[in-house]
Subunit: 405 residues, 2 copies
Amino acid sequence: MYAFSKAVNSMHSEDVKQLMKQASGKNLISFAGGMPNNDLFPVKEIDEIYNSLPEDVKKLCFQYGPTSGYPPLVKSLECYLENKGLAVANNKILITTGSLQAISIIAREFVNEGDIILTENPCFVGALTVFETVGAEIHSIPIDKNGINIKALKSKIESLDRKPKFLYVTPNYHNPAGIVYTPERKKALLEALSGSGIILIEDDAYSDLYFDETERHLTRSMKSMGDNDVEIIYTGSFSKILGPGFRLGFMLSSEEIFEKAETVKQALDACTSSFTQILANEFLVQEKLEPYLTFLRSEYLERKNMLQKYLKLYMPEEIKWNEPKGGFYIWLKLPPHIKSTDIFKESVAKGVVFVTGRTFDPASEKDDRLRLSFSNMPKDQIEKGVRILSEAINQVLQSSKVGIS
Amino acid sequence: MYAFSKAVNSMHSEDVKQLMKQASGKNLISFAGGMPNNDLFPVKEIDEIYNSLPEDVKKLCFQYGPTSGYPPLVKSLECYLENKGLAVANNKILITTGSLQAISIIAREFVNEGDIILTENPCFVGALTVFETVGAEIHSIPIDKNGINIKALKSKIESLDRKPKFLYVTPNYHNPAGIVYTPERKKALLEALSGSGIILIEDDAYSDLYFDETERHLTRSMKSMGDNDVEIIYTGSFSKILGPGFRLGFMLSSEEIFEKAETVKQALDACTSSFTQILANEFLVQEKLEPYLTFLRSEYLERKNMLQKYLKLYMPEEIKWNEPKGGFYIWLKLPPHIKSTDIFKESVAKGVVFVTGRTFDPASEKDDRLRLSFSNMPKDQIEKGVRILSEAINQVLQSSKVGIS
């Protein structure tokens, strides 16, 4: 039900909302939700943590904390980020109420109505909602399987009469595209931005969720790639490595950006929940994260492999996709004359939902893709879900052929 | 330490911040913090609740919830509010990440840069921070011991060339003034606003904290005072009746205002923590709130009585105040030529802090008051704290007399 309302919330199109509402009584198979399945959460670990909290720390759970974050969690996050190769020393961490709040704070810090923001196309829909709310003019740059298109980025920047306030990207296990930027593309992006004065927002919610340890190096953050003259704000989240219900995210930035961000946060919610910050801190300090990630990686790999297997088995040959190396998503490519919104209408009637391609296009137009999430999908429903979806796709393909002939 | 940084955060004046920082190593007695003492939180009750959550509900703690709030909590809040005489039926509840977020959402929903907002003077400083962030032009109306000055309000509205977007008030156990509006003043306020088209924001964080059951009727909300043509948005908080660390608040408004507010919230933090919402819901459903409030009322009454007793004993006769009937605060009145900022400088040097009067003036000028909070004060420090504060006040009074003679 939550996954469902979440998916509804994250869709632009009114008619799709209508369809989802009509179908809400049915027992849908959902590839829509970009969140972990309820059965994957570390409930036992948090139980142990909660029940072994010293009395004085437990009382702190109930109290206000500093706007910038619960100090022991800031310290634990420093270790966590240093372990990822991030130079925390010259930067400051601000803990936020989910990483969406970090994006919201950054937007409010830098963007006035009518200012330009650059995004990828497709782009994480939560960020798009924020950017629309602050009245930004969004220009999007296409991505391919290796990352953002550098040539398109450069020519976009040249074509604009004003300097964009920032470029927002999600380079690791992209939502919705599933790709990870190659190291070369990350380097090329930094070179392209060098000297432009455009801030880079590097949103990194998924980097811990690689499928293959030997490919971990692919998730290296641009913020960690040594000194250059590109100002980078790095954002991260506990939603994928602990649970979205904790509403915990963070941003790592220069001290100057941090200080303004702290002031913005002060007027948004004063501070993030001490309760969830204290539990998350113990999760890190007691070294429960790494074993939990090992479990998650194998669970998501298994789901990805199953989805991949059934897609190969059932999908008509016109449908293409890249196999992801981590994260939550497979991003199906349809023939250019087919709209994912049309497939959605057939599919939801048959009991399967996903998120349409145009949801992730800032202009709500480009619709030749669709996002399948395997993170929230019970394993025993994957085959049935893919079969039904394939039928819906075949149906739309057939009627389009009839239409053409 | 948190109370301390909170107090620093809520002060406007840079020199006061500097002083607080200098004193931060010392073991200060603090009348500054507007929050419950750590020893007052219902730790045992939440322990019981957490450990008896069914497995499937516990999993929901980790998951996203709807932007508008965890549905069972919305329902429990409906009962809680109906019990206060509030007509929930024609209105909708939005659960927020603390009631400050509700104020922030309302400000973002209605206010563009340069728009006028009316507030009380003095005014809750958190709300002032929000209103400043959205670039509002703040006009404040004085309050007396019975509530906002109606004549001043009317003449302010008449004098303005634009209609204010809303009037923000905290009628029950006002922060910082400690007063509760009389029923007559509440009625007069509604009459004054009738036909003006000015929305009333009724912020009601303290109404459960009356000292005397027979005076409970004084806390009746204006939103519950029958039908009239004033649009009222009612905001409330779990910070004073469960714990600020849960970051839980809510707003009750017409459906039209609710819908826009939900969209604003979606772009701020997607949803409020499921973890803390689920615990708070059980706190209400399992009827643990009322016994806890009975405990809190007697604890705060005892602290208030002690503070009252020692103020009478130690304060120089030039210092006046009204005895509060509930809430957290006593609002001392100084002779007109004495500034609370000067007293603060003496007092902090002697080891006692409070919040200066000018902190609560939107113009940061009016400084002939100071706020003492008894909610966060250990009982065994009250006498010593008042004695030291009285010495500081006497010192400033003496030197002002020397200056005059």
